[in-house]
Symmetry: none
Subunit: 214 residues, 2 copies
């Protein structure tokens, strides 16, 4: 079954050539083409596409602003940004707004077609330079300091709950242990983390992004 497509692209020449190219393949069915996103919600509601191709730089309102509107109608609709811009700001705003793919216009239209197919299969198609940016950002921000404090299984369980802000009494009850046992574990945890109290322990775990799940 053909992928139902809606395209928002203000460049009329590009728009019609995309229409011709995409229409010539049986894999894609273009159910709408528009030069702006002013009527996006109504369009999406009535056409019910599988994938939306969004230019960013369009008159009056940019494409990014249309992403949440599309996703609100149906979160299953995939959105591929198709733009000449590769600056961090537009990229980040697009992805955070919910875009599923990001293809640069400087690549061949063929890449866009591949991206449409990929996004419809649940993938995240991106031009190489874009993917590189996302990966770098991921490495910087997501990299949890994987320090080893040699906590035991039980200690880790206690610490996980402590980090949620729970009281000692509550933690003990939750883990079916005596209050004094819980305190005993906490004392050992504090020693191993080189902290003096629960507040410092929470701060250390969360600030250093220490992963307690393994």
């Amino acid at each position: 079954m053909a992928i139902r497509l809606v395209i928002f692209e203000d460049n009329e020449i590009l728009r019609s050539s995309l229409c011709t190219l995409l229409g010539s393949s049986g894999d894609y069915q273009i159910v709408g083409m528009y030069g702006d996103v002013m009527e996006a919600e109504q369009i999406i509601r009535s056409t019910r596409p599988d994938v939306v191709v969004l230019d960013i730089d369009m008159p009056v309102r940019d494409g990014i602003s249309a992403i949440p509107i599309i996703k609100q109608v149906d979160n299953a609709i995939s959105v591929v940004m198709y733009t000449q811009f590769e600056d961090d700001d537009r990229l980040f705003r697009s992805l955070c707004a919910g875009a599923d793919g990001y293809v640069l216009k400087k690549t061949t239209p063929l890449k866009l077609f591949e991206a449409i197919a990929e996004v419809h299969k649940g993938g995240v198609p991106m031009s190489p330079a874009i993917a590189q940016k996302v990966l770098n950002s991921f490495r910087e921000k997501a990299k949890p300091k994987q320090e080893e404090y040699f906590l035991t299984v039980r200690e880790t369980e206690v610490l996980k709950l402590l980090v949620k802000g729970y009281t000692v009494k509550y933690i003990a009850a939750d883990l079916h242990m005596a209050y004094e046992t819980c305190r005993s574990h906490l004392r050992n945890i504090y020693k191993k983390l080189h902290v003096r109290c629960g507040k410092e322990a929470i701060a250390k775990i969360l600030k250093d992004r220490i992963n307690l799940n393994r």
Copy 2:
């Protein structure tokens, strides 16, 4: 010019079939195949590949441990992980260690070949499910919840120190205020944050990435 390939894969059958498939194309030149990464550094130094394909689960040492070794020899060498695992931990550790691509074995070998070509062009090839994980992580980390709790300047100062794990007494001294004043501020802070104690406040601020410095 053919892409120079080194493959680390402990499954002998898979290894030889990859060799046959890749060797039959003129686009790839396999310059080495190994069942473990024990000699990785020496191998990489002598073979000088463009791309390394790395299995994760291998005897003695896992593939992830070889990534920094490879990158240290020459950072321009691309590394594609080729594995059956799609758990967050292995994925994150691989990418943070410097992997450029992550392909699941459950997809066809053809996908691996495409990935090799893509990574050599500077892309970041990933199986759809993997790319989705990275994107979600990116969205979370890049978008700090910018909730507004209407804290006063003084309250923010107190909260900043509390989040460092300091005691009330210490905070008061640090900000040149009486102990009781500090407590008074804390009471107001707890009300505004909808928490019941300092531990919950710390957890809330750090987990939600609330910026106290704006």
